[in-house]
Symmetry: D3
Subunit: 339 residues, 6 copies
């Protein structure tokens, strides 16, 4: 069975119950997640071997993060136990006109303090077929960027396929810094996941006439951007999520891939239970499809269905089975009770 | 006041909180319900005398099921206290493209072990005006089928009206077995509740051109099937729920009856809080309407309104009052606050 | 900074968890609120100085109400600690066709027993720029009406602007009694908030052809009524909320003001988390806009956005910031995650 | 089977979760109870026929109280549905040096507004073998006292045995008023339950050298008081609970009866889960013992064991079975797991 | 690192919140556990490699049990996915004089339907140093007994050490049946865990003058029984837990081992949070001590401290670290805050 | 009325529900507290004017901390809104032999980044009668130490009385650093709160023969240490808490003061609900007593009773009233229900 390794931070996510606002919270629901861990979780749910590489402190909150990964079958043997804190993010669920809110509290986490040489990449990537990271990881500091470079060098040497989700976070670094760093890291990727905003912010690639804030999707614009990305960075395949946000409660969700030709999934009207990790569930499902050799249209439909389902699942991880994704792909989205 | 007796199994239903999936559940909300108990509960809410006949073990979980019935005013004097377990079903709430899921764990329950002669039907049906059962009950075993036959014989002798909801469950018995058993049990029913799929699966009766999975409703098809059912089995009235499932969150809900002429209720766009027991609430309300002598159109509108409301009520039981149903029947579905 | 004083009752609100019905509740979520307190809360959230004037008993439940006000920064120095009970209201959340329900249990509360002279209005309104009350307050008894009159006289003497929300509650007093009392109290208001039903019930002012229950909004009708109100009572500005109730879950929400000219806000399709206090959040936001000198259209848009947001916030108080309202006013209602 | 009727108020009890104080409560656990209802509940748990006679409003909170009674098998046919509110009491659980606290909010309840003639006592006491009330009931008003007198007259005429728990509540009436009213009501009781403080406060009967606040129990004092009560009022049997309060968490619990001779139960060191209803559970168990004809020592041991167990049960009602009480009576208090 | 394999059933445990009784439960806390899984969990907590061998159904509840094992690091590769149900047990927490209660609902579970040959023991015990089972496993049926025999034969062949906890359950099989089956299975055990009652019930071995129900511990009696067990069955070492049950809330806890010489641990006064799994935590800790070569007194102190701590941990599994056990062993039981 | 200002950090405290361990937590109860905020809270509960001076970030979690202070009446006008995070501490409740655990996650908090000059101490201490800080504050960094020095200089100039609780935290700074910093800060304190361990660790002052870990209290040792502290640093009065930790559930609690003469409070056997903030509640109560001019013995009894009560209150703040403390002081610790 194929094995995927993901490298990134796993954080403690704290959310008020239901639709309560932060100020109203007398308790917080606690789950663990992060962009790369969420991809890893999707792949584990689909039955692949998965390995998560990160750093966590030796105390019980760090252990709880390890347990959360193990519970769904992710290998945690290459997690470094060092440093002093688990990164935290507070997440408040939006509704209707009130947007969801995230407050990051991740500075100084064990992962962000990782140093070049800390990870034995030769061992950590042993038996691995695919390596995944996101743009959040290098954004945490030059030290972490160096770790990513070590990983990429090892992956290259071992012939491991590599994917990256750009995931530009403006509160972590400037666009200039991101561009200078990411330009090197995305070279020759097998799969690059990005949205129009990422490409524009990080690489200054945008289509004429595009207006991200308008809420209107511009298919041609996406293709133009994807084509530019492929050409400039020698990327094999670009993948994009297209979210039309009608409100914090209701979105339309489409995904596409572009490998020289474009492939669009069905559009799903998603009534949102939890949108965090929607993009990550797309990435995870697409990596699965690639590893399993699905043809391009099947791959995009699989990843579209999987990520549509994520919007109905609480928490960061996309707790859905292969069978559930395939049912939805086949068109059974009516929501009849499954007995 | 009229009294209705229902015979069937009441189970412990265990549901994760909110929209959590089974794998995520650290606790389960516990309610008690079952197809026949739910009908009984509706009738009790509307103020009729009701009696539930079943078997439950002598331990505290069995007692809790008795208490749940008594709490809403159902007579429990004819419940047998025997056997060793309460049947359980796990119920996970769906959302958007993710369907609701039910895992049954009912084998070996006290009710399924009931033996012919265990129930003193002469006493149990004393003072009863209407007897209701469903196709789930005989599906639990030949022993239970025999009990149903005893009940029907007694009801016949006493001139008690009888209704049945076909409720075909393919995981309990085969279509062949169901047909051979149900053919006898539905003869001469005063009221038979069924959906198109039930009739097709159990009796092979379907309308030309019908496609259940398409999600499109075919009114003529329903009438054809209802007419066939009436003719073949000497049933006085057929009743059908017509659910159009747009997603696990939103359905359109219509009900109809056919007594030679067809009667359709208004269609309600239901935003689902809990759809379990929707069909049962229809049956309960229709029996009420029959006992109270509502004309056919009023009856179907009453049952349509009652069962539309069920979709907004948590749990198996339709906790709505006569007054609430009548308000909705009269057209007040705007959801203004009632002070 | 401007200071607003509000005079009214703050009650303990008890709500079943989620969508449970009263009969199903094993616990009640407890918050504190009331028409005038909710207005005060909105103004406090926007950063104004606010003072709430009421009466509460000396026990811990009374203290909890004080704490709830203080927590969001409301001055509570002029709350009388006397009497024996906190008024209670039970609130059940509706969904789809099932309306929300309120059961009032407020008779005999400390506030309703307030006597003329109990409050030192001279001190209580010292440093106050705006005074707000609602029609619920005088409805509680002639003793309370006298207190309102004392307040109004003091406000008049001090040149404090005054607003009133008619808030007619038919279970507190008759239309006749309301008319005789309110006619005096609304004379010369700077701002009067009302809905069409209030004006009709209390003052017999309605537009030709209006049908409140139809759910259809009649803009001309509103203007006619507003104009009549202004003329008859010398009111500077009328303000109205226009709720179209599609179901208990979904409403369209528009607000308008009329100061000789009419101003309508954008219409928001609100998917309801908690609709209690929607009108109060409108009043609060409008008072803010008036105090800050917003022009009429900006004022109505501000108040419209603020009160649309309230529908997505649990509890009576509109826990939203100035910044959040302004974003929505500027058109960002797409619900993208704010990081 | 014997049937016991109890007459009194059933209230909504609202308690913060766990050991939270009132000011900290974001929600309240809701159960229903009251001195007489609790006695009734005990008898229902032991398998007797029981009937609760009270008044409750027609709204859903009143209905919930009815349901709570029905759930454990109490007959509710003679409950009057009238008036406007359910009495409430807030209950905060103490621990160690911090005492439990109760805030009553019961004024104006449906029960307190009951009028002479409202209850058809002839019917309500039909088929009844024992009638129970407490001193709280007449304390609610002269109107309620009249109802008690009607009940007692009917019981006398029908030869029904009668018990009363003095339950003096100083916040409901003065000692003088209590004495003047209770002197009539306790004449000739079959069973009178009281503690030393009740007898002293209401009837001025105390033993020389007794010091209630000292926490030291004075067995001779109890006997003296019991003997005085029997003589003065022609009471057949006195029953007393002897609580030694070491802290809010730990008490020693003994009960005694005196019918000319004294009988003391074993003393139980109770580690308190919920002490509300401890005395009522004693009363219920003792009535059971009397109806079943237990000899005096067995009766007091049965009632002692039952009421010791109550301290380990959440809520007002003593949810324990006959079998559980008998095991403890027989000396199995070791707390081994029962599988 | 050493690896331990455990063979047995893992069940879904459903417990009312806090001290609520079964009849009062509106929800159940859900954890997974069982005698052998609990031993495995202790060993995993201490850092050993552990493997759990069982059978679970393919549905989501079965998966949740797998996840619970994986979360704490147990290898689950040899779990059979077959059959239709997860065994359930309901567990109610006792307090003071009210004992804890367990209702088993495990008939027909996937594990109980396991057949000889289902498990590839050669592979399942590969790399294993110690094999543990309990008397509950063979009690589930002759088919399961055969599986145990297969396991023991394989373990013998591979030179794997073997331990068994007698764990006699009278509701699963008779003493006669237990004796006939267990006599074979305990032959030559490296470690046998039992209590006096087990030995007496199953093998008829008891010391003169012993009285299990008296609650008094009889050290000499234990030694006599242990010596008999060793002699009759060629067992290397006997291990016993000595619980003195003062109440359901407070026990004294001592453990002993006997390998020809007796070794007693310190006695811990345990204030009980959750006593389920207390004995299993003893077994797990003792196996750890054996594998690590602790001397006999250190081993018994380690296992005593570990199992005393279990009584303060919610759930079946003993979630304590090596470090925490060692601190307690060293005498730091004062409960000072660890910062 | 007197006003007390406290300067320190307020943190978000996250605790698993009940007795769950960190690894088991699916949610965290969220309250806000900290050594100085807790003192402030006690004083606010007793009715004094209080002002809390700290720094908090501008986001909603920071606002929630402000709200928590305001709710109980603390003035928050001098809280700086700056920096990026609220310090966090995770708190796990111990039981029996399992100690409570705290994991600090406070590095980089807004408060720890405070710079000299940030606070306008002239204004912040205007109208203040007493200033309180603890040794935790300077331990956060030299920048914070400078702020403390600014505060002390201003307090000195204004004639404000000053108290300090040594509160040595070895994970924040070394003993050497603490000594060098604290030596200056404690000079001439009006009140210094410390335990034996603090004095020994920070100042090397210990009594001969003292053994902190033994759990035995050494009254003479305390006096010796207190006397040394007074002499060396010109402190007016020393105050000490004496906790005997029998287990994580049960402690004995005594407090003493020494102003040349020693004063010991009664010893309370505390059954622990939440011990966090026990020492702070002592400090708060003692400052109250000093401000109110209680004589030394009354002061120590008041502070002893208040802090004993804290152990029965959930959260950091001591939510008890003056009246409740005084009742306990007067000897009513029996835990009778207060109605």
């Amino acid at each position: 069975m194929e094995r995927v390794a993901c490298f990134g931070e796993i954080m403690l996510r704290l959310s008020p119950e239901g639709y309560l606002r932060f100020q109203q919270a007398g308790s917080f629901v606690a789950v663990y997640g992060g962009a790369e861990a969420n991809v890893c979780a999707s792949l584990a749910q689909f039955g692949l071997k998965t390995r998560f590489i990160t750093a966590l402190p030796s105390h019980a909150i760090g252990q709880a993060a390890v347990n959360a990964l193990r519970a769904i079958g992710i290998e945690t043997d290459y997690i470094l136990i060092q440093g002093s804190r688990v990164g935290i993010y507070f997440s408040e669920k939006g509704a209707a006109q009130r947007p969801s809110k995230v407050i990051y509290d991740r500075a100084g986490s064990s992962f962000s303090q990782i140093q070049p040489g800390d990870i034995n990449w030769e061992a950590a990537l042993d038996g691995v077929d695919w390596f995944h990271f996101t743009g959040i990881t290098p954004a945490l500091g030059d030290n972490v960027t160096e770790s990513v470079k070590e990983a990429l060098a090892t992956a290259h040497r071992k012939g491991i396929r590599v994917s990256c989700d750009l995931n530009y976070r403006k509160n972590l670094w400037t666009a200039e810094k991101a561009r200078s760093v990411m330009t090197e890291l995305v070279q020759g990727l097998d799969l690059c996941i990005a949205n129009e905003e990422d490409c524009k912010s990080v690489f200054g690639i945008s289509s004429p006439g595009s207006d991200i804030d308008s809420g209107n999707l511009n298919h041609e614009g996406y293709l133009y951007v994807a084509e530019q990305m492929r050409k400039q960075f020698g990327i094999s395949e670009m993948a994009v999520t297209l979210r039309q946000s009608h409100s914090a409660s209701d979105n339309d969700w489409t995904v596409m891939t572009y490998d020289g030709e474009s492939h669009f999934s069905r559009t799903y009207p998603v009534h949102i239970v939890d949108r965090v990790g929607g993009g990550d569930s797309f990435g995870g499902a697409l990596i699965y499809a690639k590893l399993k050799g699905f043809d391009a249209q099947k791959a995009v439909e699989f990843a579209g269905a999987a990520s549509a389902l994520k919007h109905s699942v609480e928490g960061d991880f996309n707790i859905v089975s292969l069978d559930e994704v395939e049912r939805l792909m086949r068109g059974d989205g009516s929501g009849r009770v499954q007995r």
